[in-house]
Symmetry: C2
Amino acid sequence: MASRSIRLAVIPGDGIGPEVVAEGLKVLEAVAPSGDLAFEQTSYDLGAARWHRTGETLPDSVLEELRGQDVILLGAVGDPSVPSGTLERGLLLRTRFELDHYVNLRPVKLFPGVKTPLAGVTPDDIDMVVVREGTEGPYTGVGGVLRKGTEHEVATQESVNTAFGVERVIRYAFEVAASRPRKKLTLVHKDNVLTFAGDLYQRTLKRVGAEYPQVSTDYCHVDAATMFFVGQPQRFDVVVTDNLFGDIITDIGAAIAGGIGLAASGNVNPDRTAPSMFEPVHGSAPDIAGQGKADPTATILSVAMLLDHIGAGEAARRVEQAVSDDLAERGALGARSTSQIGDAIAKRVSG
Amino acid sequence: MASRSIRLAVIPGDGIGPEVVAEGLKVLEAVAPSGDLAFEQTSYDLGAARWHRTGETLPDSVLEELRGQDVILLGAVGDPSVPSGTLERGLLLRTRFELDHYVNLRPVKLFPGVKTPLAGVTPDDIDMVVVREGTEGPYTGVGGVLRKGTEHEVATQESVNTAFGVERVIRYAFEVAASRPRKKLTLVHKDNVLTFAGDLYQRTLKRVGAEYPQVSTDYCHVDAATMFFVGQPQRFDVVVTDNLFGDIITDIGAAIAGGIGLAASGNVNPDRTAPSMFEPVHGSAPDIAGQGKADPTATILSVAMLLDHIGAGEAARRVEQAVSDDLAERGALGARSTSQIGDAIAKRVSG
Ligand SMILES: CC(C)[C@H](C(=O)O)[C@@H](O)C(=O)O
Ligand SMILES: CC(C)[C@H](C(=O)O)[C@@H](O)C(=O)O
């Protein structure tokens, strides 16, 4: 049977990025035959090393090459030797914005056997999906600084929100909610303070919601939401929120669902006008880089999301199941290295 | 002995506000003699009812009266019958801004006997103070909406940060840190995305920090900070952060330290050019208003902060100790009403 060929761009990045990506690819190779998939991989040398060497973060020519790919797998970017924001804005956010990744999809799910810091909480209590807006809000980079370094300095940051941008992400969130058993969508914002942006989100939720009578909707201020994540995570099914609030609440989501080593994400362009990009939520963790200590599970779960995105749902389920089985046994297994975890999961998907 | 007379403005506000404020005042009256204090109370009818009656949130004349007071105690404002933001912006935030409450002081402390949702955490693990900026950042109200209601709508919110505003709150935070045993100050921001504002905070931390060699400093992105609040709260001693990040992390702080029913705060004008205002972190909770279900402890702890602010440290310690003793016994006491809790604590401080 002819297998489908997928052009896969790989951006290992900095710190533990290359290590966890290697395990993600290992699992991808292991599951590919069952999904009748062949991956044509291109690896892109982007991140701190390149910046030190050339001063480049994401050259236009590389961005154009990325546009020609089907899908992207990214490890992590950022290093203390590079001024804060340089790689984040110049590489990671630039990719999200240029490739119109307007949905930043972040499941928050507690797998059986995984330790949560919350007392008395079971896997049934934590199972949600956060749909974070990915291309506007406070992440636009709009703003500036006046009289820098003087006592009269003024530094501004502007959150820009458009009807176009808000509607498309809310519509996507309704679709996700409609596909899930509970069919509940919660908007998280701060509409009592950020009144202009909050009002746009609220009106759009109401208007688009009229097309989804089967989905119940709810609203929660971001400050209260963080409290409910810790005290009452059952409250949430699908959450839609802006770029910055989504950044914050998905880290709490990771914390309650067993830690950043398990949190996967997809930067999705649902209209498929450009390739989507899958990456673990964690950063480059330079302090543990190169020691085989990083947990590749978040990257492997991101690979499952990648498989879903390219239409290989059955392969995605196999990877998820393998991860779930591996997690269920971890407590009994003792410490394993990055590649030992990758090997074990790869073995399960192929076996 | 002549007692000192303090002009106290009381804003009971909406929902459970009046109920919890009544208990706060009960405790204040009970502790006053020992502090040689006499309070000259003026109650201000502000909140949802007044807005419905007159359309006013905070009339200029009332604001001027408030300026003439020594200190303010506020319950809570906000009601679902009033458009979101009307009272928050028109009353609460207006007071904070007009009276230059540039320090929003929020202790996060787990008292012995209090249940935390975190597994395996003891009171020694959670003892920090968040110094939240209170007069700028994304709370300025700067921003607007263009082409409202059309598909071309644009809604903006601007975070405005000044050298003046950032320096004074950071300086205050260093003073707090220097007064505590651990002497550790952590800046929480998002300087890899909000580069202009984050850079101003970072440079100011470094510059002011040179004057406090005894205080160690640290930086944490807001998303990671929320994760550490849940997984590693021991990491924090004093935290300084902007207005919006402070709003969010102090709600997680409340969640890990036993819930919003216990979280106190002070909107402080350290230069004493206008009265400071003390209030529980919680909102007006209209769903449980008038039922005697609200926990007045957060308001009573806010009263302790108020006492500290007016120089009645000994009375403040008595209130804190009474709360601490009450909390230690709560587990054994079963459900009590709002006024029963207030009575019990008042009895302890006077007895
Ligand atoms: C690295 C940083 C720019 C990024 C973000 O803020 O989006 C990260 O925290 C994330 O959540 O993917
Ligand atoms: C009611 C609201 C405007 C307020 C804030 O955002 O500051 C509240 O959440 C708080 O933390 O005091």
